[in-house]
C-alpha cells in the first residue's frame, strides 16, 4: 500500500465532529495509507477558541510524533503574539483561514498575513493560505497570495482549500506568474484535475484531503489518474514535495531535479 503525506487534516470539525476525533482520524489514515498528516484544530472556526484547538493539536502531535505534524490557526485580529508562541511550541506552519470571520481586506492582509509570512520565513517555515470554500473569497481569488508575494518574494507559500472549480482558471493564471507557489490539491472534477496537474507539474503539488471533509481514497485515486503514474511513485514524489514545504523551500524547477 502507498504511504501518503496528507497536508490538511482537521482535528475537530463543526459539521463532522465524530469523524474528526483523534481515534477516528487515525483509523481513517490507516485505512487510506496516510503515513503522515498535517493537522489543525478546525473546530476553532465554530468555537473561536483558537488557543484550545491549537492545544488539542499540540497534544495529539506530541502523542504521535511519527503521524502528525501540528499546524497552527490564529484569530487574525489577535495574531500576535500567538504566532510566535505557536512556533516556539513546535508548530510547523500557520494556516490562514480566509473564510473565517469577516476580516479579509487589503489592510488586514498587510497588517496580519504579511507579518505572519515574514515570521514563518525567518524560521524557514511555510505559510498556508486556505482560500475559497463553497463560496468565493470576497474581493477575488488571487489578490491575497499576490500581496503576500510582493511583500515576501522568498516566502514559501501553499495555496490550500481551492475548492471552487470555477476559480481554477484564475489559479492557473496566477501559477504562471508566480512559479514558486505551491498548490495543495484535493478532489476536483477529473478533467479539471488532470489539466491542473499537467499545467502545474508534479513538482508544485502536495496532497490535502481535508479529512473528514473529503474521502482521501477519492483524492488519491483522482490524483493517480491525473498524474498517470503508479501510486507508489506518486506518493513518493508528493512526500518529497511535502518535506520541502516543511523546510520552507520553494518547489523544484523541472530543470534542476536534484537541487536541494
Amino acid at each position: 500500500m502507498e504511504r501518503w503525506t496528507d497536508t490538511s487534516v482537521c482535528l475537530g470539525h463543526p459539521e463532522w465532529p465524530l469523524q474528526a476525533e483523534a481515534g477516528a482520524l487515525l483509523n481513517a489514515m490507516d485505512g487510506a495509507g496516510i503515513g503522515e498528516a498535517w493537522i489543525f484544530g478546525y473546530d476553532a472556526v465554530a468555537t473561536h477558541a483558537f488557543a484550545q484547538s491549537n492545544e488539542n493539536v499540540r497534544r495529539l502531535a506530541a502523542q504521535h510524533p511519527d503521524r502528525f505534524v501540528p499546524i497552527g490557526l490564529v484569530n487574525p485580529f489577535h495574531a500576535f503574539p500567538a504566532v510566535d508562541e505557536l512556533l516556539d511550541q513546535g508548530f510547523k506552519s500557520i494556516k490562514i483561514l480566509t473564510g473565517w470571520g469577516n476580516w479579509l481586506t487589503i489592510g488586514n492582509v498587510r497588517r496580519v498575513v504579511v507579518p505572519i509570512a515574514r515570521t514563518l520565513q525567518q524560521r524557514s517555515l511555510h505559510l498556508s493560505i486556505a482560500l475559497e470554500g463553497n463560496v468565493p473569497v470576497t474581493g477575488g481569488s488571487t489578490f491575497l497570495p499576490v500581496i503576500v508575494r510582493e511583500a515576501c518574494p522568498e516566502a514559501c507559500i501553499v495555496l490550500d482549500h481551492c475548492w471552487l472549480p470555477s476559480a481554477w482558471e484564475d489559479y492557473l493564471a496566477l501559477a504562471q506568474d508566480d512559479r514558486d507557489l505551491w498548490f495543495a490539491l484535493h478532489s476536483l472534477p477529473q478533467a479539471l484535475l488532470t489539466r491542473v496537474v499537467r499545467e502545474l507539474g508534479l513538482e508544485r503539488i502536495v496532497l490535502a484531503s481535508w479529512l473528514p471533509e473529503t474521502d482521501p481514497d477519492l483524492v488519491y485515486g483522482q490524483l493517480r489518474r491525473a498524474a498517470g503514474i503508479g501510486g507508489d511513485e506518486l506518493a513518493a514524489i508528493l512526500r518529497d514535495n511535502a518535506a520541502r514545504v516543511l523546510r520552507g523551500q520553494q518547489p523544484r524547477r523541472p530543470a534542476d531535479p536534484k537541487k536541494g
Binding site: G140, S141, T142, S166, A167, W168, D170, A173, D177
Partner: protein, 253 residues
C-alpha cells in the same frame, strides 16, 4: 466634462411599453444626472443575437446623438476571427467606434483563450482602441485573466469592466501591476472605490454607470462625495476616459 464609460441601449424591452433601453430615454437619464457623454454598447449581443445587428443598433444610437454618444463594438470571438475582423473594420474603421467590448461570460469563452481572444486584442492594437471587458464571473470573465492579457499585450489598452464585480481586490492588483490596465467602476460601492483610489490611483479609474441597469447618479455621487481632490475627481469622471478615447476635449484640456 463628465463621461460615463458604460451605458447600454437595445431594441427589446423587458415588458411592452418599457422605454428604459431606448436611446432617447438613456440621453434623458444623462441629462438628469449631468452626464455629458457616454460610451454605449448595445445589449442585443447578450441575448445571443448576431454581433452585426447589435452594432447596427449602436450605430443608429450614435447617429441620433453624435455629440453625446460614443460607440463601442460588440465582438463575439466564438463567431470566428474573420467575422470579428470584418466587424471591427465596419464599426471602428468605417464608423469611427472608439473601442471594443467583450463579454466572455455570456459568450462562454475563457478570456485568456489564445486562439479566440488574442487575435481580437491584436485587432484592437491595429486600430489603437481600448478593449472593455465585462468581468466578475468565474471561470471565464475575471480580472486575473485580464492580467494575463495585459502581460502578453503590454501595449493594449484594457479596461476591467465593473472593476471585477465581487473580485474587486483582484482587479486592483492587476491594475497596479500593469500600466496598460484601467478600471471601470460601474456597479461598485464606496469601499471598493476608496480602496482603488488609494491602491491604484485616480489616473486609472473610469466613471461608469451601466445605465440603465443602474442609475448614472449612483457611482457619480460616490466619486463626487469621495475624498479625492477636485482634479482627481475630474480625471475619474471624464478626464481619463477622454484621454483613453482620444476625444477632442482631452486635447483641448
Amino acid at each position: 466634462m463628465i463621461i460615463d464609460d458604460h451605458v447600454h441601449v437595445h431594441e427589446w424591452s423587458f415588458q411592452a411599453g418599457d422605454r428604459e433601453f431606448e436611446v432617447d430615454y438613456v440621453v434623458e437619464l444623462m441629462d438628469e444626472w449631468g452626464v455629458d457623454m457616454a460610451v454605449i454598447m448595445d445589449s442585443l449581443a447578450y441575448i445571443g443575437l448576431d454581433q452585426r445587428a447589435s452594432n447596427d443598433h449602436t450605430r443608429d444610437a450614435v447617429n441620433a446623438y453624435p455629440d453625446r454618444l460614443i460607440g463601442f463594438a460588440n465582438l463575439k470571438p466564438p463567431q470566428g476571427i474573420a467575422a470579428c475582423r470584418d466587424e471591427a473594420a465596419r464599426t471602428v474603421g468605417d464608423w469611427g467606434f472608439r473601442g471594443i467590448k467583450l463579454h466572455p461570460q455570456v459568450d462562454r469563452y475563457p478570456l485568456n483563450d489564445r486562439a479566440l481572444v488574442y487575435p481580437v486584442i491584436e485587432l484592437a492594437l491595429e486600430y489603437d482602441v481600448p478593449v472593455w471587458v465585462h468581468t466578475g464571473h468565474q471561470p471565464n470573465a475575471t480580472p486575473t485573466l485580464m492580467g494575463t492579457l495585459a502581460r502578453d499585450f503590454p501595449e493594449a489598452k484594457l479596461i476591467i469592466g465593473h472593476m471585477g464585480s465581487g473580485m474587486f481586490y483582484d482587479a486592483m492588483w492587476v491594475a497596479k501591476r500593469h500600466r496598460n490596465v484601467y478600471l471601470d467602476i460601474s456597479l461598485q460601492g464606496g469601499h471598493a472605490f476608496g480602496a482603488a483610489c488609494e491602491e491604484v490611483g485616480a489616473g486609472k479609474l473610469l466613471y461608469g454607470s451601466d445605465a440603465p441597469y443602474a442609475s448614472p447618479g449612483s457611482m457619480k455621487r460616490v466619486v463626487e462625495e469621495s475624498a479625492l481632490s477636485a482634479a482627481d475627481k475630474a480625471l475619474v469622471l471624464g478626464g481619463n476616459a477622454a484621454r483613453l478615447l482620444k476625444l477632442a476635449v482631452a486635447e483641448a484640456a
